[in-house]
């Protein structure tokens, strides 16, 4: 299936493709287009839009798009919910202090965007980072039980 979002990804638009690929659609294909073209290209291609203004899988009621996707697809793995708190803090600037891990993720994501200006390259290299974060989150929630 095709998925579409705004180009020049940062935190949420890297975390969402990781989430979609790992939990929803392991053959997902991602399109990155300028903000003004998300709606029209989505209609032409049938791609599912995310993290763009006015779409269902976007920011709603304080949720970032990563959290909206988790809600929409009924994902409830505790490690993933722990990761969602980190992504939220890293993505939503006014909630940056809501999770101690968020600031580091945001800083490193900024650095990856500087080093990998092409969204596809940035995504490929950062998936390893999200796999690592998720591994830590699963370990952490397992310890808390």
């Amino acid at each position: 299936m095709k998925w579409i979002t705004r180009s020049h990804v940062h935190v949420d638009r890297v975390a969402c493709p990781w989430l979609i690929t790992r939990f929803i659609d392991n053959r997902a294909e991602f399109l990155f287009v300028p903000k003004s073209q998300v709606e029209s290209v989505a209609q032409e291609t049938g791609a599912i839009p995310f993290d763009a203004p006015g779409v269902e899988l976007g920011h709603h009621e304080g949720r970032c798009s990563f959290e909206s996707i988790i809600l929409k697809y009924g994902l409830d793995e505790p490690g993933l919910l722990r990761l969602a708190r980190i992504v939220h803090g890293a993505d939503v600037a006014e909630d940056r202090d809501s999770d101690p891990v968020a600031a580091g993720l945001e800083a490193i994501a900024t650095g990856f965007s500087l080093r990998y200006p092409h969204d596809e390259d940035n995504l490929a290299v950062q998936f390893e980072l999200y796999d690592a974060l998720y591994a830590w989150c699963r370990l952490q929630v397992a310890k808390e039980v």
Binding site: I86, P100, V101, A102, A103, G104, L105, E106, A107, I108, A109, T110, G111, F112, L114, R115, V125, E128, L129, D131, A132, L133, Y134, A135, W136, L139
Partner: protein
């Protein structure tokens, strides 16, 4: 040169190895021994092992010791040393907000990597990104 450290690398050893490859010994080879293992391989340069020259010093991380020993004066590297200090060594105060995230991303990378060498390579990408972010930010 061959560089040796304890296996199961984390935030400080990933930082040191990145620095070694980047500025000290581009063709460095890394080998790993179990914690406490002696003797260390002959001719190899040990780092981040208690008691060796390139290790923790005065409450600061091994990465910080590398900067001093190799006379590397770069404000961005010094800032990274302070972040690694907070991530790796217990500090009295928290002033580097990126430290907790860096720490557990590195721990996670070791868990998701098949071996220490792969973990070092993945960790190096994270430190390259951190360096780029700090270089672009006005308040290093």
């Amino acid at each position: 040169m061959i560089w040796v450290t304890w296996e199961n690398v984390a935030v400080d050893r990933m930082a040191c190895a990145w620095l070694v490859r980047r500025l000290i010994d581009p063709s460095a080879e890394f080998v790993f021994v179990p914690p406490g293992h002696k003797p260390l391989p002959e001719g190899a340069q040990p780092f981040d092992i208690p008691g060796v020259r390139l290790s923790h010093r005065r409450g600061r991380c091994s990465f910080s010791t590398f900067l001093k020993e190799f006379d590397l004066k770069d404000p961005i590297l010094e800032r990274i040393a302070r972040i690694v200090d907070e991530a790796d060594v217990v500090q009295e105060a928290s002033v580097e907000p990126a430290a907790p995230g860096l720490d557990l991303i590195c721990r996670g990378l070791r868990r998701t990597s098949p071996d220490d060498l792969t973990a070092l390579e993945r960790g190096a990408l994270v430190y390259e990104a951190l360096y780029a972010e700090l270089a672009a930010s006005p308040e290093v």
